[in-house]
Symmetry: D2
């Protein structure tokens, strides 16, 4: 998510015919996606909140805006620790996933008054507006796990009628004229980057993916890659994963010749046929 | 999964240049995939086991072979009910997902002696061999949630030294000469189809997807579809999902004009940019 | 729960001075309580609902009335399978536990219109009234996991303006004049006894507890037990548990002499000092 | 747990006839127990580990020694975040609970070589011995959530052949001659007190309980309390809980007169009959 600008720009350059070298979109490799977003955020949402606010999660009412990978990670973790979580979504597929995973799908305005915690993970801007900030209850904690610093309309809070009080590093109390306080974390910037740490394991996954992508681009025979944006070849994505399995003492099963033939697979991978998409839709254009 | 033959055949026909009409691969639409596989199997594994064996899940040692969508559904449900679950995988990416989700990744041979329950969800054949059946402990339950009836080598059990005893519909005890009994469900055919029911909700998702695909093919302007296999247009996939949201009293958020512009999206969807892939890898070829 | 009448009567007899032999309250032994109530109901609520209605749990709105052992079991299971669960309680301690476990604590009237599923586990009567049945939405499923057949006011449904339609064994549709249908299971009797099975493992725990209690009463030296109601001696409760551990390949740790001394315990148990109460309050009178 | 010495001493004094005033054992009130132990430790184990080591929980192999309230909290949280957790126990009842909750019950020696994380919550001493520390793998993290600083035999690590390296506050690397490092947190003292914070909510519960106990002792009519140790009257325990419910917007259900009569309860509580014990055994002696 934080990386979106880069790959987004690459696609825009490519579309405009202005990309002058082949590029690899490592952000969207399965391994990196899952680690940086789902699995890493599942932990960093808890970590970031504890280090800044010491809030107890049990029984807290939470709304998570956006049920993509990051939102799924946040929801899973908070629910597991006893929070009562609902979500907002614009995409009906993600919304239906949310239902199946046990989260009420609401509009932010419907619940904003009751929430103890508001978390944005949308990739969008002004997801939490000044009007909604005005309606929050005293003590409500607001933070951003999505991208940039625009998901919460922080600018609207820099206004003469509101007082800002820095209570500790990365934690501001915004005080309304009636004394109500909203707790804003990291001034609306990314909580996971500002107030939590990134496990070395995730760094290792990311660095390995990037290094392999560079090696692939460097070693590729003339003509394999044109001035376009490519995804990491699936086999290489699998290789990154396989390099990290020993850490977990995980033992991979090998296909027998007979099984590989039955599946139409090479015994050394890639292990998914071309039309496999790890639970996903693919464009036809 | 059960549908695999059909779409698999379509791709083979297409590859061989023998497909004489456009075809829609509805099996791989996000909505259908998630419902038929992940969410439906999460429930039917429990239902199928209870109706056939009345087994208590708490404390049982379970190995799930294959950690794709179906495997993920089975693992989630059984773990939630207190079973101790480990998995086998051939694909390092899925194996690493398994680690992150809290399952030990093992080879079947390492654990087969201790298991109370062996479940296959691989799409492969001979995943459970006669040798492994020989090593199972007395009372071990074996069943197939994957595809066809080849995942467990049932043929090897039709052998003179073993006695089959039908204890109730869909449940056979295979009795070894030393008296050991292995409980085989549905003679190795799909447990979810043989011993469980499909919720009407899932049927509705599937039927809606199929109907919309037919309508799209019928209404499409000349030339949109050639003699090839297509995935359901993303917008239509989203439409299927949106039709089912009212059932859950789920309230979708609408983008403001400003937000739609910021995201580069049409307010009515599709809600994911073309390069979005619901956590997935895509081939470049 | 189902056993309440028996032990309840024993205490009443004792209080009235009419108990003419010593009696053992086996219902309240830890082992039996946990198995019969929490762990068994965690599974039988799912089993009973599936066998009768084939309902999909994912995304369903559920209210569980009563958050004792049975309620906790039902809530845990349904939440794990993606239902959105809230609870009702009369006891503030159990209500606070519910909060910490991530369930909204509501009054039944506040939510009755939205619910897909209403489950009673209170030990009380008329927990679901005719007025509330009148306000349920079409298709709402109502069942009782608590005790007796009085938790739902079923009598009020045997009324000329309502039509009963038996759709399968244990499942009645109650049809309102406007066509609304409420799905009543087991005519309000216990779902777990009527529509689900009891795992042999639970039977074994219960039978072992009862047998040991009888042996203890028979073998006890003159004077150990008077004409009163006793709880199973803790050591015997532990013994029941220890007899069932091998089933799970569970390996108990033994105290060293030094450790036993430090803890003030006998190495063979009982392992809890007299003032230990498995998370509980005890009366001083 | 941390409070054990105090109430333990009170019981010893009482037993020895040396208690010269009435005392209230507030530690064992349900409300305080649950909050200080189960619910608080469920969060502080994660918080304490993150702040000290930044460890990623997903896929980690963890052994939790002791499956009482604190152990249950630790296990629940770590399992929910993707760790693979097993437990050790001396008490067969707690061990059987562990099985039902999905944890393998092992002896520490069986698993010590594979563990990434060893957590003690036993109330005992020398639960982790020098011999076991010698067998841990490189990078293993060891910490104590139980009591005192004796659960891990830290003294045995202050030995000339081992090097201690303080890597940050509360974190020591113990370095073996072969270069192996074990990560010891808080020098074996309580992780939750040393490296985590206590939510204000838990403090409020504890303080309220203590204040009410003092008020009760002060206001009690002559003769209600003798020179002994008492548990907080159940009604007062319920009162503490009820005072905290509004924080969660939790709405308690009130008994009707008819229901109170049916249950044999006073409408204002206490809500559990005298023989109720929140899932517990009570001694008759």
């Amino acid at each position: 998510r934080a990386g979106r600008p880069t790959w987004c720009v690459l696609y825009q350059l490519s579309k405009a015919g202005k990309l002058c070298v082949p590029a690899m979109n490592v952000n969207d490799s399965v391994t990196k996606q899952k680690f940086d977003n789902l699995y890493c955020c599942r932990e960093s949402i808890l970590d970031g909140l504890k280090r800044t606010t010491d809030v107890m999660f049990g029984g807290k009412q939470v709304v998570v805006c956006g049920y993509g990978e990051v939102g799924k990670g946040c929801c899973t973790a908070l629910k597991a620790l006893g929070a009562i979580v609902c979500i907002t979504e614009i995409d009906p597929i993600c919304a239906l996933q949310g239902c199946m995973d046990g989260f009420r799908v609401v509009k932010l305005n419907e619940v904003i008054r009751q929430m103890d915690l508001v978390i944005t993970c949308t990739g969008n801007k002004n997801v939490v507006t000044r009007e909604q900030l005005d309606r929050m209850k005293n003590g409500c904690i607001v933070c951003n796990m999505g991208h940039s610093n625009t998901e919460i309309d922080v600018a609207s809070l820099r206004s003469p009628e509101l007082t800002w009080e820095r209570v500790r590093s990365q934690v501001d109390h915004i005080i309304w004229p009636d004394g109500k306080r909203v707790v804003l974390l990291a001034e609306g910037r990314l909580l996971n980057l500002s107030c939590s740490t990134v496990p070395t394991f995730v760094l290792s996954i990311t660095a390995t993916t990037q290094a392999l992508a560079l090696i692939e681009l460097f070693n590729a025979p003339e003509g394999r890659y044109k001035q376009d944006v490519y995804l990491l070849p699936k086999k290489m994505d699998e290789y990154v994963a396989s390099l990290h399995l020993p850490n977990f003492d995980a033992h991979l099963t090998e296909l027998s010749d007979e099984q590989a033939k039955y599946m139409g697979l090479n015994k050394n991978g890639p292990f998914k046929p071309n039309y496999y998409r790890y639970h996903c839709v693919v464009d036809n254009d």
